[in-house]
Amino acid sequence: MQIKRIRSWNKQRQESTAAYAFLFPNFLGFLAFTSLPVLASLLLAFTDWDILTPLKWVGFDNFIKLLGCHKEAGHIVANDPLFWKYMGNTFYLMLAIPVGMGLSLILALAMNQKLKGIVFFRTIYFLPTISAGIALYMLWRWIYNPDFGLINNLLAKIGMRGPDWLSSTTWSKPALMIMGLWTSMGGYNMVLYLAGLQGIDPELYEAAGIDGANKWQKFWNVTWPMLTPTTFFIFIMSMMGGFQGGFDAAYVMTGGGPAGSTTTIMYYIYNNAFQWFKMGYAAAIAWVLFILVFIVTLINWKVGGKLVHY
């Protein structure tokens, strides 16, 4: 009895040692590039530091400057109006998320039948996603050219005068959103929706048919509820991406302009940290972003948990 217990204890110890060995490389990286940097950036958020001169502890100053406001000639003014403006830009650009999800769903519905050439269509729809990045941003900068670009040429054909897309504070954000929709609507989300549609039990439609449901009723009572897990997954991932997005396209196409109209929070963090070397302030913005993402995701889970049909 005694020997057996010692043996099993030995075995357990061996297994633990082996487990730590398996974990070691990953854990080291996790420590060095994720968990310790998270703590470091929290500390950094309470400092003023330009990398070159010694670090200065400033308490809550960064957060007060970022989130606070003061009175100026009788009006309440934010201490950092740019932060709120860029936050507004970030939210504005995220309005494209539900539109894109709708388009992906429509595409998936159209593709979810026995049609010839479906692989051909899927390949074409995926091309923008697979090519996404700087090369496509360059292409779209040309497409949005006010005088000789593709879009304004097409608009001219139907007698409309297109705007100067990327140089107009009104149109710069819609321009980036249209490009984003074009890039992503036939990509990952469409494939996920298609997989979701193919996973729906055909018997459910038959049962609905027997109950006399028409197409529209079948969609709202069978398809839509059965797709809620997919919709929820796409929505959460897109929201998390949206809060942190907008840098690459704006950097290449507009430089964040005109007049800061395409600068997102991520771009503002980049500018603060790597253009102006305000490391402390940049870390504070990053933490505010983190807390915002955390709260929104939490709300999503709470609300989504009730709406999602499993």
Partner: protein
């Protein structure tokens, strides 16, 4: 069959044909809108610089200027950029799949003190925006003297909580019979990992490989931050500097874009089946 039944099947048939035609129209409309910008890019890339600024635009360039391609290729060291991007993406992918699968095996199959707490810690960090860790990691690399080296491009990206999580979920779904048999035969844990777990997990490993490779290939902000010299730039960053040099030289810019895009498009068309399967798996398990 009664007259009415024949009529209703006939009706159903025409209805489904109608539906198919409508679907084809819708699918083609979307398809055309996806393809036209690419055709526009090709058309521009073959024009004489002056021919770009004509109204209405000519879709078929005359004359065709093939020289735009070698000109764009030589404008910045794109060959070097390709080598950098491939080297970085391959090492990052290999490192991530290796470290993630090792850790995932420990989380999925071995028991050790603190396992669940540690795993929760991993999960918790998956929601943290990259912006939070970016600044301290940059400062760390600067202290180590790694800025503007391959190390800065590769090493911080070799570890992934998401990859560990996804593989752990997949490993947990595998049956344990084979492992039990191997244990009785005296196989070591590392042997089980290499000879049983990895071969059984090919779909999950392929998914992680595809996503990590794509992520590294398209990554822009991090390489932009940690590299300065042209010899170290990966393709996206090099393309951005190329644009900086030839801001409105559209024929050259479009030729450069096509040079960068065409290999990816070819690889995608050849391997798209795996790609699509991979997306589904990544979402279900992840």
């Amino acid at each position: 069959m009664t007259q009415a039944a024949i009529k209703s099947t006939k009706e159903a048939k025409t209805k489904s044909t109608m539906k198919k035609i409508l679907s084809y129209i819708l699918l083609s409309l979307f398809g055309v809108s996806m393809i036209v910008p690419f055709l526009w890019m090709v058309s521009t890339s073959l024009k004489e610089p002056g021919d770009v600024f004509t109204y209405p635009p000519k879709w078929v360039p005359a004359p065709i200027i093939w020289e735009n391609y070698p000109k764009a290729w030589n404008a910045v060291p794109f060959a070097r950029g390709y080598m950098n991007s491939i080297f970085v993406a391959v090492t990052v992918t290999f490192g991530q799949v290796f470290t993630s699968s090792l850790a995932a095996y420990a989380f999925a199959r071995l028991s050790f003190p603190g396992r669940d707490k540690l795993f929760l810690g991993y999960l918790g960090t998956m929601m943290i925006p990259g912006a939070v860790t970016m600044i301290p990691v940059f400062i760390l690399l600067r202290k180590l003297g790694w800025i503007d080296t391959y190390k800065a491009l590769i090493i911080p990206s070799m570890f992934s909580a998401y990859g560990t999580f996804m593989l752990r979920q997949f490993f947990m779904s595998l049956p344990t019979d084979l492992e039990d048999a191997a244990k009785i035969d005296g196989c070591s844990l590392f042997g089980i990992y290499t000879k049983i777990i990895l071969p059984l997990s090919k779909p999950a490993l392929a998914t992680l490989t595809i996503f990590t490779f794509m992520g590294s290939w398209m990554s822009f902000m991090w390489p932009l931050i940690v590299t300065n010299s042209m010899e170290l730039k990966t393709l996206p960053v090099m393309l951005a500097s190329f644009q900086g040099l030839y801001t409105t030289d559209w024929t050259l810019l479009m030729a450069g874009s096509i040079i960068i895009l065409s290999p990816i498009i070819v690889v995608f068309i050849l391997g798209q089946r795996y790609f699509v399967e991979g997306i589904k798996l990544g979402a279900i398990k992840g």
